[in-house]
Amino acid sequence: MSEPVLVLDQVSFHYGHRQVLENINLTVWPGDFLGIVGPNGSGKSTLLKIILRLLRPSEGQVSLFGLRQEKFHQWTKIGYVPQNANSFHHGFPATVQEVVLSGLTASLGLFKRPGAEEHQYVVEALEQVGVAGLRKRVIGELSGGQQQRVLIAKALVSRPALLILDEPTVGVDLAAQEQFYNLLSELRKEAGMTLILVSHDIGVVTEHVGSVACLNRKLYFHGAPADCWAKDFFSQTYGSAARVLRHAH
């Protein structure tokens, strides 16, 4: 296989004095579909932010597409849908089209304006997530699930090689979730996209991903979902959270 998309090498992270991530080692290869699961507060979003260099690791090393993170500049290769992405102000005066087009800002670069080609990309991204009909609607007036799809289109429009999604199916109904996972597997098969998805909905995630990482400050397990169930790692990850809770009282 070619070089890994992502390597985390002994990554630790502290917020102030509190250690949130401890000695994480993880490798993601092209075409992988990794699900990161863990209870609330286990450090999942923090880990994603470290990957995206929104936060710097306290210790350890991150590499993206074969480059050390400090030397990596092709951020447009990575699409990101943040947790609570649809918590933007719902009075925001922008159409779906305008929001998705903004996903091309970085790849266009400073001073360059979008042209016909870029508008075509927008249409294609909206078709991919099945909301092309909503193009002219104001984003704040869509349902939560529709907004979520638009935000995924915004991440897809720059045609990233790696797509990172933080709890993308919160507030999305079951049928739409099913469609959403179908979309992800299409992207992976047809565009060869690498996917990292964070969720605490273990049941649904393990049905769809290629491998899971069970995170709770430390990485408890990384491998095929079936092995994870078999070895009962989930109760370990979630159980230790329960113990932490008991200590707190």
Partner: protein, 278 residues
């Protein structure tokens, strides 16, 4: 008189250009901040006997740098850093005004705006720096949009958020200092927000928000100047009252004719005080 209209037209373009992003990011307080700092700058000019608009521009740029420093060094909430800078601006202004014993016509023309006091030098400065600001914001249009929509997402995508923010703060400082000559220090930040607020009543997209905001600001400034000239008023009041009139009409036409579509009252962008941090 002609100078006032030329300067007014530039101001009518500048204010919504900056205002739309300040409103969308819920940073309208920055308008207050720079107007108070500008007041201190004017007082400094009067005190030192130099051209007040120049000292106001200088002090505003200094305050812009101060704001950036506060935000970066102390990772302060956007709101708090702005509140500190407002306090700095007012207290400095009060001291300088009393030192200069400058409660005179010059100061009043800066406080309330003026039709007749605008000199050729003022107009030159307003036009040159104004064109610079317009060009800068036009060039950063798409970056400013995505930052307003989702700052963290923009950062993750590789947009140079810090650079764009710093340039935008400078553009804001210049806009407010230049506009104060026409509408006055007390009312600049109203001209920044009210036309945008009116535009938000009717708009169905970002593009139409921008167009409406320009339209409303131009109408307000020209009509306001016209009224001020003929009724011999300070133009700040007539301009901002006109723009409030436009806002009322826009809000009513949305309500009664269904223009602009339905939005919940509690999703209105204007009037929320929470800062999002620049």
């Amino acid at each position: 008189m002609q100078r006032a209209f030329a300067a007014g037209l530039m101001v009518a373009l500048l204010c919504p250009t900056i205002g739309i992003f300040l409103v969308l990011r819920r940073l309208s307080m920055i308008g207050e901040m720079f107007s108070h700092v500008s007041l201190a700058g004017v007082a400094l000019g009067v005190f030192a006997g130099v051209y007040p608009l120049a000292t106001a521009v200088g002090l505003s740029l200094f305050a812009a740098a101060g704001l950036e420093a506060l935000r970066r060094t102390y990772r302060m909430f956007g709101d708090l850093a702005i509140a500190l800078m407002i306090s700095f601006g007012i207290s400095l202004a009060v001291i300088l005004i009393s030192l200069a014993q400058a409660f005179n016509a010059t100061l009043f023309s800066y406080l309330f705006g003026s039709v007749i006091a605008i000199t050729g030098q003022d107009l030159q400065l307003i036009l040159i720096l104004g064109i610079l600001v317009l060009a800068l914001v036009y060039a950063l249009q798409k970056e400013l949009f995505i930052i307003a929509f989702d700052e963290e997402g923009a950062r993750a995508a590789g947009v140079r958020v810090d650079l764009v923010n710093a340039l935008f703060v400078v553009a804001t400082a210049l806009t407010i200092t230049l506009s104060m000559r026409v509408v006055g220090i007390l009312l600049v930040s109203s001209l920044i927000t009210v036309p945008v607020a009116a535009a938000l009543q009717l708009s169905r997209s970002y593009r139409s928000t921008v167009l409406y905001a320009y339209l409303f600001a131009i109408i307000a400034v020209l009509l306001g100047l016209f009224i001020a000239f003929h009724a011999d008023l300070a133009p700040g009041g007539s301009i901002v009252l006109t723009s409030l009139g436009i806002f009322t009409l826009a809000a009513l036409s949305r309500k009664f004719f269904g223009l602009g579509g339905e939005r919940d009252e509690n999703t209105s962008l204007v009037g929320t005080a929470e800062g999002k941090g620049l």
